[in-house]
């Protein structure tokens, strides 16, 4: 019944307001140093200059960005190679994150209707697979999709390959790059890349959707059902509208997460369809050794990620207000 029950009022009533601010400042300093300076350094160095054989030097040049967007040789020649890598990064990430959310949504909805105990067991399993390193996940799918074992072998042994050949679907798969003359093949392909990526974030999708769906009041759907709405109608008229914003928010977060995925792309994507994240690695520590250009690409990745994160944050805020 107290009009204002702020924690501040309670705590300040116990202690006089003579706090030691240096503790807070020290904490701010540590966090600033560890969590913020790395990003600032990346931004600053992206304006630097490569020195042949001696690393790089401070500078203030837009050459690295110019090289990213139109190529180093502009105006004589325009190279869109780096933009194309960004395009592939976005392309894989969009499809994989949408796919993950679309399949994780019904799963999570069903999960939240389970008993608390069953939910706990599922969550343990999902968290374990969520924390699994990208190298391990790629390892698993590598075995599953490689030509010598896994799915292609299963296709051949089970006769599915022959059936595909008879029905003519095999030719379609070849056109899509999912088959060689003898059998189906998934490595390397966009299909394998997107599949593995969406597997990679699927547990994250469940975890992100879980709060919104578990707070869904079951009496809402029950009310709709008493008014004559069938299951499909309940889904489209009651559940989807209430979780629309968290759903979009989840897609955006997963998208940001996938922008930086590296191993999946290196192993499953064709060499011509590599992404910016791979290029950053190549520039900073790989064969080309051009730290400023690597930093510039990282900044572009950073800006893209930050923009989508901000959008996700905005959507989450809005869904909380409602």
């Amino acid at each position: 019944m107290t009009a204002v029950d702020s924690p501040k009022a309670n705590l300040s009533a116990e202690t006089p307001p003579t706090r030691r601010p240096w503790g807070t400042w020290a904490l701010a300093l540590v966090i600033g140093f560890l969590c913020v300076t790395p990003f600032i350094l990346v931004i600053v160095i992206s304006f630097g200059q490569k020195i042949d054989g001696a690393g790089w030097a401070w500078d203030f040049t837009f050459a690295n960005y110019q090289r990213f967007f139109i190529g180093a040789l502009w105006p004589e020649e325009v190279t869109l190679l780096h933009l194309q890598r960004l395009y592939y990064a976005l392309y894989y990430a969009v499809i994989a994150s949408v796919l993950a959310v679309l399949t994780a949504f019904p799963f999570t909805y069903l999960l939240t209707r389970q008993s608390r105990r069953a939910q706990s067991i599922w969550l343990v399993f999902i968290l374990a697979s969520l924390s699994l390193s990208e190298v391990f996940i790629v390892m698993g799918w590598d075995v599953l999709l490689s030509n010598r074992s896994g799915l292609p072998m299963l296709f051949e042994v089970s006769g599915a390959t022959d059936w595909l050949k008879e029905t003519g679907w095999f030719e379609v798969l070849r056109e899509w790059g999912l088959a060689n003359p003898r059998n189906v093949k998934f490595k390397t392909s966009e299909f394998a890349t997107v599949l593995t990526m969406s597997y990679l974030v699927w547990p994250y999708a469940v975890i992100l959707l879980y709060p919104a769906l578990s707070r869904l009041d079951p009496s809402l759907t029950e009310a709709a059902r008493t008014m004559g709405a069938g299951p499909a109608r309940v889904m489209s008229s009651v559940i989807l509208p209430t979780v629309k914003l968290p759903l979009i928010g989840a897609v955006l977060l997963l998208f940001v997460f996938l922008l930086g995925s590296y191993v999946t792309v290196v192993v499953f994507a064709e060499p011509a369809k590599q992404t910016t994240a791979v290029a950053v690695y190549e520039s900073v520590r790989g064969s080309t050794l051009d730290a400023p250009f690597g930093a510039a690409q990282a900044v572009i990745l950073l800006v893209t990620a930050a923009a989508f994160l901000a959008l996700a944050q905005y959507l989450t805020k809005r869904s909380e207000i409602r």
Binding site: M1, T2, A3, V4, A9, A13, E14, T15
Partner: protein, 353 residues
């Protein structure tokens, strides 16, 4: 010690005045109830007494010493919270001895004191239980024992019965009152339940909108309400709006006799209150007789509540004696004894009840 006194206490949150100019002297060793509807500022007042909130203005003193700026942990007034606020990570005994443990009392001594207090609230057998294993009534006893463990100067209870079910509530009211009388500790109870206040309190402070409306013994407050709010909030009352005329009250064509005469200038707008059990259906020639028609009869066993339509307005009469069978539509006479009529000034913003 004790001798708790509040002087011109005010509390505002921004523009909202939660408590306004409250001055009170609490009876030593007595139980005072702060009574009022929710949002009237009674809990805020209690929290200021405990030291959990700072008053915006005014002073609090204990035994002549100013304690206004003394933080809660130095006042150490024992307090029972609405939710009981028992620590789930400690067992019953450790909850009770908490104040002693953090004050550095030796373990054995603290445990002995906890046993003593659990004895007092008849929970000795539950000392090792976890809080989650207790019923609501048991939790309340633990909360009371815990607040008393530090032998506080003042014992505070914030809506102590609200988490209990109705049956248990009445038993606990009697029990708490007996315990308080045995210990003779100055006690303040916040409640919105007038029965609770009247069952337990030596004196009642009726509050509304941050102000003290009236302070007095339960009997004084019931029989001599000082204003319309108190008359309405304590017990039931029938209200009629009228104007004064020679110390009496005129409502339409009817002039109602009032003793003692109301002390108002003629023509003042007033509100008049009559308790349902004071109005009579039969006998008594002296008084104001009005024709009435029965509109509804509510028979709850020992008492009949009879709803009436009268020329001065609708009213309810509680009849426990006549026992005459009445039916809707019956016409009869109702008597309002002159000494049963309370007259209060009527503020312009008050609508007829």
């Amino acid at each position: 010690m004790a001798g708790l006194s509040l002087k011109y206490i005010r509390k505002s949150y921004g523009d909202v005045r939660a408590v306004e100019n409250v001055s009170l002297d609490f009876t030593d060793g007595g139980l005072t109830a702060l009574l009022g509807p929710s949002g009237c500022g009674k809990t805020t007042l209690l929290r200021m007494i405990a030291g959990l909130e700072d008053p915006s203005a005014g002073s609090i003193s204990l035994g002549g010493r100013d304690i206004t700026r003394l933080p809660a942990h130095k006042r150490k007034f024992g307090m029972v919270f609405q939710s009981f606020a028992l620590f789930p990570h400690l067992n019953v005994s450790d909850n009770v001895s908490y104040a002693l443990t953090i004050a550095g009392t030796p373990r054995g001594q603290a445990a002995a004191r906890a046993r003593e207090l659990l004895d007092l609230v008849q929970l000795s057998a539950f000392a090792e239980r976890r809080i989650g294993e207790l019923s609501g009534g048991q939790r309340q006893r633990v909360a009371i024992a815990r607040a008393l463990a530090q032998e506080p100067d003042v014992f505070l209870l914030d809506e102590p019965m609200s988490a209990l079910d109705a049956k248990l509530r009445e038993d606990m009211q009697v029990e708490l009152r007996q315990l308080q009388q045995r210990l003779g500790i100055t006690t303040i109870v916040v409640t919105h339940d007038q029965h609770e206040a009247m069952t337990m309190a030596d004196s009642i402070v009726v509050m509304s909108q941050g102000r003290v409306e009236q302070m007095g013994t339960p009997q004084a407050i019931y029989h001599h309400p000082e204003n319309a709010f108190v008359a309405d909030f304590i017990g039931k009352a029938n209200f009629f709006d009228g104007v004064t005329e020679g110390g009496n009250v005129r409502i339409g064509q009817h002039l109602l006799q009032v003793t003692p005469p109301a002390n108002f200038i003629d023509g003042s707008p007033v509100r008049m209150a009559v308790r349902p059990e004071k109005a009579m259906l039969a006998g008594a020639d002296d008084g104001n007789r009005l024709p009435a028609k029965v509109t509804f009869v509510r028979d709850v066993g020992p008492v009949q509540d009879i709803h009436l339509d009268t020329p001065i307005g609708r009213m309810i009469v509680s009849d426990s004696e006549s026992g005459q069978p009445l039916r809707v539509g019956d016409a009869l006479q109702v008597t309002l004894p002159a000494d049963a009529i309370h007259v209060f000034p009527r503020l312009s913003d008050q609508a007829a009840a």
